[in-house]
Symmetry: C2
Subunit: 184 residues, 2 copies
Amino acid sequence: MPTQSRRERARAERRDLILRTARELAESVGWGAVTTRRLAEAVDYSQPVLYGHFKNMDAIADAVALQGVEELTAAMRTARAAGGLRALAQAYLGYAADHPAVYEAIFVRPTDLSFGTPDSPSPLKDAFEEIRAGVEPFAETDPETLTEVFWSALHGQATLNQTRRLRPSHTQARVDLLITRLTA
Amino acid sequence: MPTQSRRERARAERRDLILRTARELAESVGWGAVTTRRLAEAVDYSQPVLYGHFKNMDAIADAVALQGVEELTAAMRTARAAGGLRALAQAYLGYAADHPAVYEAIFVRPTDLSFGTPDSPSPLKDAFEEIRAGVEPFAETDPETLTEVFWSALHGQATLNQTRRLRPSHTQARVDLLITRLTA
DNA sequence: CTAGATTGTCTAGCAGTGCTAGCATCAAGG
DNA sequence: CCTTGATGCTAGCACTGCTAGACAATCTAG
């Protein structure tokens, strides 16, 4: 039945349109200004349509987050293959800097996504595994913990960079120093 | 004129009441649920009274943040005197864990407070200086950058702990590993 | 002691928020 | 052609931050 599948395709496309638009809106005006009315207007539908695709506004941000974490993982993977842990770190911070709203959706906004548990969404586990693979060569005993420490250090820099709480001129120096010390 | 000063005293007391109440409310229900109506009801005044003391809701959170950063600095100072950088780190993470809403007001919420510039509020500069004093013995060349790196690493752990994105069982192990590597 | 000015406080209201109930419209199937 | 079910809309609720304007309490000056 082409009818059925055409409908489904249309639905999926609209869902994607909502997600893309939410993401663009968030990147340009911040999540705080992404309201159901504005988003609905931007996709040229009425508000209730959004709720036909997502439980609520937070679910939209969560969906953007899942998209984003896959991109982030991919960026880390290619970087690591090319330049090891230092390149991975730069890729991480670069992604956060280039897509602040997406990064916020993944790691800052309160979310229902579960982290660090067996039932976490697999994109999250993949991202963690990618960092783990990066630090593994430098782990003496406990790679899990080193992964968490390294990730936290990156996350701290990413967020404090973003909220302009660190000197912008020294972004690179901070990555270098972190790598130097943690891989000593 | 005792009249004048009595008024001023009453005003200051009320300002303090608002601040204390906002802080308690934030710690118990989160900043998202600290609304002008709820806060006004809690201090037993009407909403406009709040605006007689603070420009807006964000200014209240900023005031709480400034209070909090002074406490945090004090905690780091006594800890450092007793147990060096490791104790300082534990004090930092302990404060963040014990006062999540205050910590959020200081370092996570978007704020007008300026960081890392000459015109930053002095409590913020003091806090930074305290961390700097802690890492100084381990800085080979650039203590400023090491301070930022160390602070970011702590901040990352603090926030990811708080949002339950790290294994709660390994909080201590993460601090230990961070100290071991960064002071090597 | 009274008149006027200042200060403090409240009620009521505006514009905007997330979200939903209920009605209209339209495409597909019998 | 009519029925049925999906699809989308308008309108509305309860909430948000914030403010204008009225009223009362208090202090100042004559």
